[in-house]
């Protein structure tokens, strides 16, 4: 049985920002993110899921959003902007063509898009959604150790990339 309209609107307005943000940062594309986000809420509407609380709803929405966004990402065959050889532990993070052009504001999410999907998802759930590693593991159906590894590697990459990018930014403006 579908959720009643008034309640459904309330659920959308409460959780739309979270759902859209996750979709956008996973897929890296605005239009795809909106499509995914709409589909997530429609799935909720159709499922007639027995939602006990907002926490339950949030858990359900996060899980479905991550699954659908990663599916959309794979369907679009969007590869991380970095070449495969650039993504190495402790490796050199310059591109083969030299350092990439620097945006006036180097945003973390631009760098985030360079991460492989499993690391990107872990980082988003941890730092956008403030989920703990065991909560992330439960939601994704992964071992906690795997989640912690993804977080550690993702953080290391982001720190190094951010340091390189922001050094250039500082040089350019001073």
């Amino acid at each position: 049985m579908a959720i009643e309209t008034g309640e459904f609107r309330r659920l959308i307005e409460t959780h739309q920002r979270m759902v859209f943000s996750l979709s956008l940062r996973i897929t890296g594309d605005y239009a795809t993110a909106e499509e995914v986000a709409q589909d997530v809420f429609l799935a909720l509407h159709r499922s007639g899921e027995q939602l006990c609380s907002d926490d339950h709803t949030r858990f359900w929405l996060r899980r479905v959003t991550v699954h659908r966004a990663t599916d959309a990402l794979r369907r679009r065959s969007v590869r991380p902007e970095s070449a495969a050889d650039e993504w190495t532990e402790g490796g050199n993070f310059e591109t083969s063509a030299g350092r990439s052009p620097v945006a006036l504001e180097a945003r973390v999410e631009d760098i985030l898009r360079l991460l492989p999907e499993p690391l990107r998802v872990a980082i988003l759930l941890r730092y956008q959604e403030d989920m703990l590693p065991d909560e992330i593991a439960l939601m994704l159906g992964q071992p906690v150790a795997t989640v912690k590894t993804h977080l550690r590697r993702g953080l290391e990459f982001l720190r190094r990339k951010a340091a390189v990018t922001l050094k250039e930014y500082v040089r350019g403006t001073i």
Binding site: T5, Q16, F20, E34, L42, R46, Q128
Partner: protein, 123 residues
């Protein structure tokens, strides 16, 4: 514009994680998002229906009549099938009898030919 301290490698993990928390706050949804979702939900829910609602008393009789008709149709179908199977069996028996008769006649002929040729065979 605030210049950020670029020396991330010198910063503690906590500092960088705090920076990530700030940078990864949820982004605003597109304008009118909720309205678009509701419109899609409504269009999915709208199913054209032709429902004939009958008065309750008549409904009971009608259900009974339908059930009886269904039962009768089932019985008739069963009877037709039984007759069909019986006919098939009769035809098969006739064919078998004919085949046996032909085979018997052929054997008699063959025996006679052998006797004419001077060959005695057991019966």
């Amino acid at each position: 514009m605030e210049l950020f301290d670029a020396k991330f490698e010198d910063q503690s993990d906590d500092h960088f994680e705090e920076y990530l928390h700030q940078q990864l706050r949820p982004v605003p949804e597109p304008r009118g998002f909720a309205d678009r979702v509701l419109a899609r939900a409504e269009s999915e829910s709208a199913v054209p229906a032709k429902v004939i609602v009958m008065p309750s008393r008549r409904r009971v009789w009608t259900s009974g009549a339908v059930a009886a008709a269904t039962l009768l149709a089932g019985l008739l179908t069963q009877q037709v099938e039984v007759r069909r199977q019986r006919h098939k069996a009769e035809v098969a028996q006739q064919q078998f009898d004919a085949a046996m008769r032909i085979t018997g006649e052929t054997l008699d002929e063959t025996r006679q030919q052998l006797r004419d040729a001077g060959v005695e065979i057991g019966k």
